[in-house]
């Protein structure tokens, strides 16, 4: 569904992505791992056409999106639902209006139907009680969950994109979000999870990419990841085995 063909991207003189190529299938569950500032968010923005590559092609469902206009890109963006790193809720609207945003924009539902739909979405993510609050009155975890609810309202996405959906949350909340993410893609819809928390990534994804210095250092499934000898990945794996042990000794 998504093809990156020799994509280069830079901010000014700072090269973020150097000659990146990969292919993502219709219903794959992928985690893009990497340290902070390695360009994980940049990849998601490229997929949505929010920024354009310096060189190379990005092909979505057989269509090259690199030279599309903003109007043409609208259709491409409809295929995805994204939860941004900070949630990116509209901070002048309350939770209800945030979730209802797309419904109001694209459907001619009555006020009652919108209210019903919003409550249903909020129930799915488990923050129904926060419906009247403003975004800055929410905790980090609630914020993230409302953002997920809002992304669900955005018509019928073929693929979910999550940018650091669990970062900055306590393990309990992170686990709830992970389960939610898995639940949502149960019916075979693909997802790309961008994170530097490998511990959460292995719960969700079945294919892993590791980004380092602008190139993809590793691309493979869980088995390959665990047995990888790349030093940078080893550091990450140590973290997982540590938390694994901690869990065991705790239980």
């Amino acid at each position: 569904m998504i093809v990156f063909d020799k994509v280069w991207f830079s901010y000014g003189i700072h090269h973020v992505l150097k000659d990146i190529s990969f292919t993502v299938g219709e219903n794959e569950r992928i985690a893009i791992l990497g340290e902070s500032g390695e360009g994980k968010t940049t990849i998601l923005k490229l997929i949505l056409g929010l920024i354009r590559p310096d060189a190379g092609k990005i092909i979505i469902d057989g269509e090259d999106i690199t030279n599309k206009t903003e109007d043409e890109l609208r259709e491409v963006r409809m295929k995805f639902s994204i939860v941004f790193q900070e949630g990116a809720l509209f901070d002048s609207l309350n939770v209800k209006e945030n979730v209802a945003f797309c419904l109001r924009e694209y459907s001619k539902l009555s006020e009652d139907e919108i209210d019903h739909k919003v409550r249903e979405l909020l129930r799915i993510v488990g923050v129904e009680q926060a419906i009247e609050l403003m975004p800055d009155e929410l905790s980090g975890g609630m914020h993230r969950r409302v953002a997920i609810a809002r992304s669900l309202a955005a018509c019928k996405p073929k693929m979910f994109l999550y940018d650091e959906a669990t970062t900055g949350l306590d393990p309990v909340n992170a686990d709830i979000i992970c389960k939610l993410i898995l639940d949502l893609s149960k019916n075979g819809r693909g997802l790309i999870l961008v994170t530097h928390k490998i511990f959460d990534a292995v719960k969700i994804a079945e294919r892993f990419m590791f980004l380092k210095d602008g190139i993809i250092l590793f691309d493979g499934d869980k088995e390959e990841l665990v047995h990888s000898t790349v030093p940078d990945i080893q550091i990450y794996l140590n973290e997982v085995s540590f938390s694994g042990k901690a869990n065991k000794s705790g239980g």
């Binding site: 900070e86 809720l89 509209f90 901070d91």
Partner: protein, 254 residues
Amino acid sequence: MKIKELISELQDFYLLSARGLLVAVKKPFYLKDMIEQMDYAGAGSFVIIFLVSIFTGMALSLQLSAELSSLGLKMYTGKVVGISIIREIGPVTAALVYAGRVGSGIASELGSMILGHQIDSLRVFGVDPLKKLVTPRILSSIIMLPVLTIIGDVVSLCGGYYIAVFVSHQSGTFYWSSIRDVLTFENVFAGSVKPFIFGYLIACISCYMGLSTKGGSKGLRKSTTRAVVVSIVMIIVSDFILTRILLYVLGFSV
């Protein structure tokens, strides 16, 4: 390098200004956003415009009646106050106040939306930020600044009246009749063209600065300041140019 950047920035600015106005005729219309903007920009600025205008009018009238009475020309106070307020001071003060209050508000709001990825969210949802955010602000400024200017003019003239009659002891009826003499087509036209252009300028500059914010809260500070400073300079400069053009068009000789 610097010049190239400047040119590309100017180009972006022109594109935003032109498109911001042009897309106003295309669907969908964000009427609710526009009304909210008009309320914020117009009704919200009323008190400050009132205060600034009344004191400007009083100071001007006081100064002029002192100066003119030493020349024995006290009866011209109304005429001079009227012309300067309607043609120059009214539009410029209102625009400066508007830039300080509304321009900075626009820049900081859009800037923090950029920083919080809210603009990206809009784009992902298929909403054109230009249409949803910029157009309502431009239109509401084009509508509200002239309204505020007219209110400001009236208040200033009343302030001038108060000083002329109660401090400088002139005849009130004569003051108003000389004001009425000043309300010719030329003067009113010259005075009312300006706020439309100032409103458009302030809105475009502030939106552009807000949308080009980068670099966290420091960047936000920079773009807000730049929005106000550039607006103020542009108001004064364009006021001069407009005055020149209008005098020429309306056939005054300098």
